[in-house]
């Protein structure tokens, strides 16, 4: 069948095409494989630490902004580990969590919000390359 999809992120499409070429797949084969993989993992009950920590943050962020603006928070293992006045206290807690923790969230409530947004990377660090390789 033929499928036309609009409004795809061109960067993601570019990366996807490059990966398909690297794996020696035609685009339709790669898309089929990706759809199959997504359908299979979409039902997975296993949540990664990354997903769990972000889920906890999203569920609490309004309360954190209201009651703990300017404080540092640590979220790990899918729970709020603590709220701290000083960054050094939060870092010490992170240190004590142990090496087995591969992902945790450390953020200063409110202050780090100002950091977010869209910035520029002018050329995207363009490098010389032979036209034949592109």
């Amino acid at each position: 069948m033929t499928l036309v999809i609009k409004k795809l992120n061109p960067e993601i499409v570019r990366l996807f095409k490059a990966e398909a070429v690297k794996r020696g797949l035609l685009l339709n084969q790669a898309i089929e494989e990706a759809i199959t993989l997504w359908l299979n993992t979409g039902r997975s009950v296993v949540e990664t630490d990354f997903e769990a920590n972000n889920r906890v943050y999203e569920s609490m962020k309004e309360e954190l902004r209201k009651n703990h603006s300017g404080k540092f928070i640590v979220i790990a293992e899918g729970r709020l580990v603590g709220v701290f006045s000083e960054e050094s206290e939060a870092i010490e807690v992170l240190r004590r969590l142990g090496e087995h923790i591969k992902h945790a969230i450390l953020t200063q409530v409110g202050a780090d919000d100002e950091r977010a947004g869209e910035l520029e990377w002018w050329g995207g660090s363009i490098e010389r390359q032979s036209a034949q390789n592109s």
Binding site: N53, I91, K102, R115, E120
Partner: protein, 141 residues
Amino acid sequence: MVGRVYRASECSEFVDAKKNPAPTLTLTLYSITGDKVIENIRIPVDTGYEGPIMLTSELYRFFMRAELPRTLWRSYRTLSGTVIMRASRAIVKIANMELETFVESPFLGEGKLLIGRELLNKLAIIIDGRRKETCLVEDIH
């Protein structure tokens, strides 16, 4: 005309590129908990990158124990589209200076090593293309 004299203190050689070598700065990166991740690495200077330090995804994973929530990540507009960057707190040591900063890496894709304007704007450097060196400098009064 402004007359100003600088003294170069720490210099880094350019790194080879396909044709035109790239200016670099030498730095050491620590996780926010103080673990040394990589020492004396020469990272290309990219004045077009508005962020702090970009890392490859392989290096970035050592900083993921102090990551910002996903909704606070930045996106960057490039010639070929928008790139979303994950971000974590880190400590960078350049010469005798130690600064808390953020390191970033694309959410999708491998990323690369770059120093951007968010960090460059805290430093005084000279890019000496003829000598193929980038140097930290001090004003001579």
